[in-house]
């Protein structure tokens, strides 16, 4: 009898990675998203090389060039300042590079905080249900009832009255407007998953509540969290930029894209005369947000069971 050749069984992980890579390769938009995000990661990581800070100063503070004097109007791009300078002769190139690092920093801090709060509250609310669920969900409803940006602005104003740094206040207020979304998302996932038979089976095998929540429910909910978090990554930066643009947020001279546009806003009236002062930071924000949205979509395509096998 001839021996049948059995195809080698690939490790499930390797098979999965191969599938994901193939899906990404087939979609130019996903590739663009990954390219943009990785470019920004490189910029953020190598910021000290790309734009060396002055020793002894906070690297996030944009150095100004005394050789150009202290004129208010921005100076045009020149070999020394390839993106030109903004008001008070602060280098825009430096600000854009360090702004990337700053964008990652705030987005990561906010995402970690909101996702943690969302996971804890969403799991508890969805799993135990009843009174605890009502309590948590009605509170999130209250938070969601306020328009996000206005609530954040109010909080920043209040917090700056009690001597908070405006940047910290902005971060905290964005966290406060961000967590209800995650809580609701995770709760809805938990509600779906906890009625699955395998949860009942786990309970019948003697698993405790905590174990069921962390080991059996959370891994099944994690994909939607990843997708939403990556889509949120860009929008958090957009919100901080919006706040900075309204004058709440990063202080004068801080490497923050929103703040740069706020500084350049005074020169928009000059038509295209001082275009570099607001175009460059604007382009950085657009590309950053675009990159994360495309990456989020790409992740959804490979991770979401509804889309992945299409």
């Amino acid at each position: 009898m001839k021996k049948m050749k059995v195809p080698e069984r690939l490790e499930p992980t390797i098979k999965e990675i191969k599938f994901i890579l193939r899906r990404i390769k087939d979609s130019p938009l996903s590739l663009a998203g990954i390219a943009l995000v990785s470019a920004f990661i490189i910029i953020a990581v190598f910021a000290p090389v790309l734009a060396p800070p002055k020793p002894g100063f906070n690297p996030y503070l944009i150095p100004s060039d005394p050789s150009l004097g202290f004129r208010i109007e921005p100076s045009p791009p020149s070999p020394n300042h390839i993106f030109g300078t903004t008001t008070a002769q602060r280098d825009i190139y430096y600000a854009c590079i360090w702004g990337a690092r700053w964008a990652f920093q705030i987005a990561l801090e906010v995402i970690v905080a909101t996702v943690t709060v969302g996971i804890v509250l969403g799991l508890v609310a969805g799993y135990y249900g009843g009174f605890i669920d009502e309590l948590i969900m009605r509170f999130t409803d209250i938070m969601l009832a306020f328009p996000g940006l206005i609530l954040a602005m109010t909080l920043v104003t209040i917090l700056s009255q009690v001597n908070w740094q405006t940047i910290d206040a902005v971060l905290l207020s964005i966290i406060l407007i961000g967590w209800p979304g995650y809580t609701r998302l995770i709760r809805s996932e938990v509600l779906r998953i906890k009625n699955e038979d395998y949860i009942e089976a786990a309970r019948a095998c003697g698993a405790s509540d905590l174990r069921i929540m962390l080991r059996h429910i959370l891994p099944n909910a994690v994909y939607s969290i990843i997708i939403v978090a990556s889509l949120d990554f860009g929008s958090i930066v957009l919100t901080t930029a919006a706040m900075s643009f309204l004058g709440l947020g990063a202080p004068l001279g801080w490497s923050d894209w929103g703040r740069l546009i706020y500084d350049g806003m005074s020169f928009v009236s000059g038509g295209l005369r001082w275009w570099w002062s607001w175009v460059y930071p604007g382009v950085f924000i657009v590309l950053f947000v675009l990159g994360w949205s495309l990456l989020g979509d790409a992740l959804r395509d490979v991770l979401d069971p509804l889309y992945r096998r299409k």
Binding site: Y198, A201, R203, S208
Partner: protein, 388 residues
């Protein structure tokens, strides 16, 4: 054999269970009484929604809201002691579930968590219920190795040995918990993991799963229905439970696989000596497998007797109707007229009165009690309680 109290593993007495829904209170279990003897297979038969599955869940105390156990007693006899399961707290119950009483579910693929491999899920139960035993085996292995090896390797074995001994004596001690969390040190668990893996493979072999070394690393979606059900049964059998609650384990499988699983359950039951509570609506399966049968209707136990008696001399009108409804070639197709009453407002008296052809006045006034009409043959019907 004489019937003694310890002869029964589980005894359910006057169990009432309600579901609190928006439409009203669904009286799902209305005074259920049953007992399961050591080593027997008890079949629970009834239509959809008559409370079969919920009875099984109540014994494990995993009824989820809106369901609520109102009153009743579930006595569980183990090692000469008896406990009321409904009084036990959650930590104790989590030791009972899976260890003394475990459950097989209807839809095998849904009963496995899609994100973990089969081996991981079975291993989890090993970790939870047979940890000590496994640690003891590992210690034995290590002791052997300490004698055989020398030098550096021997030193490592000694460290591992002390850790495992500590784990056995005091699993919550600081040193063990630290060792379990430290990146390189925590590899000492690998021995335990290998041991669990070997035992899982053995268990899968026992369940006649072909090529268990391969199946153990598969994910639920890669398995066929029959294979998945075997894996679920494996999970339930890890701790060799005294009672196995099988909630329609073969309903969703095709007939040949169903036959294989039934043979398997029968053999395993003989080998392990466990009792089985077999919930089904398939009378053919009952005739094949069970020792004793319990017929349920709308949350009540209407008749219970050994399997031959039920098929030869069914007494309750519902049982008779049920047996007549089995389609046979050449026989006109019959069924019980009417439908199961809604359990929000069940009819007064006997819940079967609307559909019963022998219904009398008393059937609308008084709920019949289970009476013993012959040895071990109980019926809840006014026809046999002398109209009292």
């Amino acid at each position: 054999m004489e019937k003694t109290a310890s002869d029964e593993i589980v005894e359910v007495q006057d169990l009432y269970l309600n579901f609190y829904t928006y439409e009203g209170i669904v009286k799902a279990l209305d005074g259920v009484n049953l007992n399961i003897k050591r080593g027997e297979i008890l079949g629970v038969v009834g239509e959809t929604g008559c409370g079969k599955s919920v009875t099984g869940l109540s014994i494990l105390k995993i009824v989820v809201p809106p369901g609520k156990i109102e009153v009743g007693k579930v006595t569980f006899n183990v090692k000469g002691k008896s406990y009321n399961i409904l009084d036990l707290n959650e930590p104790t119950m989590s030791k009972v579930r899976g260890r003394y009483i475990s459950m097989i579910f209807q839809e095998p693929r849904a009963a496995l968590n899609p994100v973990y491999s089969v081996g991981y899920q079975i291993g989890e139960v090993f970790q939870h219920h047979r940890r000590e035993e496994i640690i003891k085996t590992v210690i034995e292995q290590l002791k052997g190795e300490v004698e055989k090896t020398s030098g550096f390797k021997r030193h490592i074995c000694k460290i591992q040995l002390s850790l495992y001994e500590r784990m056995l004596k005091n699993p919550k001690s600081l040193r063990v918990r630290l060792a379990l969390k430290t990146p390189i040190l925590k590899r000492f668990q690998n021995r335990m993991k290998t041991e669990i893996r070997n035992r899982t493979i053995e268990l899968l072999k026992l369940l006649r799963i072909p090529d268990p070394e391969r199946v153990i690393d598969m994910y639920p979606h890669e398995l066929s229905g029959g294979m998945a059900q075997r894996c679920v049964i494996a999970m339930a059998l890890v701790a060799k439970p005294m009672l196995l609650i099988a909630d329609e384990p073969t309903t969703n499988l095709d007939v040949t696989v169903q036959a294989q699983i039934l043979v398997l359950i029968n053999e395993l039951q003989k080998e392990l000596g466990s009792s089985i509570l077999y919930v089904t609506h398939d009378l053919g399966v009952v005739a094949e497998l069970c020792d004793r049968v319990l017929i349920m209707y709308a949350g009540n136990v209407v008749e219970t007797a050994d399997v031959m008696t039920i098929f030869k001399e069914p007494l309750h009108p519902y049982t008779q109707g049920l047996l007549e409804s089995i389609p046979r070639p050449g026989k006109p197709f019959t069924s019980i007229p009417g439908v199961v009453p809604g359990l929000i407002n069940p009819p007064p008296g006997c819940r079967f009165n609307e559909r019963c052809k022998y219904a009398m006045d008393i059937c609308w006034k008084q709920k019949p009690k289970l009476v013993e009409v012959a040895k071990d043959h109980y019926v809840a019907c006014h026809l046999y309680s002398g109209g009292k």
